[in-house]
Subunit: 157 residues, 2 copies
Amino acid sequence: MDTHAVLMRMATEEDLDQIVYMLADDELGKTRERYEQPLPETYRKAFHSIDSDPNNELVVACIGEEVVGVLQITFIPYLTHQGGWRATIEGVRTATSVRGKGVGSQLIRWVIERAKERGCHLLQLTTDKKRENALHFYERLGFKATHEGMKMKLYIT
Amino acid sequence: MDTHAVLMRMATEEDLDQIVYMLADDELGKTRERYEQPLPETYRKAFHSIDSDPNNELVVACIGEEVVGVLQITFIPYLTHQGGWRATIEGVRTATSVRGKGVGSQLIRWVIERAKERGCHLLQLTTDKKRENALHFYERLGFKATHEGMKMKLYIT
């Protein structure tokens, strides 16, 4: 595939199957996602929540008809930094067929411009410490690991 | 002050002055906030963006009329984890007058319940590696530092 011909666009519901496939086709993702036919309804519900929120954007990287990358951006207004907006990215995945071919970098560079367009002063993400390659990938793109990313699982009783 | 009598509630515009004072009265905050009278308009604008977004909540901890703590929660729908919602917290501060008296812990415990009420399966935050005490504070409350928190400053040209 010609990874020079990658185009970014907002995801549509028709992309959902390919997106969930990529989320599940991943070292950590395979333990927590459920890619099956029909797709579990929870993914469709989440898609509609994201799609209807002007501060959330699901972006796909495409080569022709094929979806080869995905990520979600959330734009958040904060009081800190004198009332500055930030962009948070999450769920970054590329298809195994294009891995190591620069699609991920193109996707992140696109997001940097999108976050600037939305007036954000900061772009942020957390990456699992188990993903050693990811840390270096993001550092090469200009991110700095200045913070601890802390998580707490919640169990609804 | 009796820190057993702390009440949490949603912030109103009338609290904004006390909130920005707390944000600025902080080792890192003092280098990036501007607490002055009248308050810079950017804070008021950010407050309205937060207040009008159903997925953002600005919460204050109060003792009587006095605001002694603040944080912001953002509820985010994701495709990952089978379409699960997360809560992200940011801008956590307590007033110097009550520091070390458990107000911060009470605030975080309140947020844990609020995030469950909203159906979130994960509560997350990033804390600057320069804030050594903060890491232990969050670990004691049940957070795990499993991720790197990566940031990129954006300069809008």
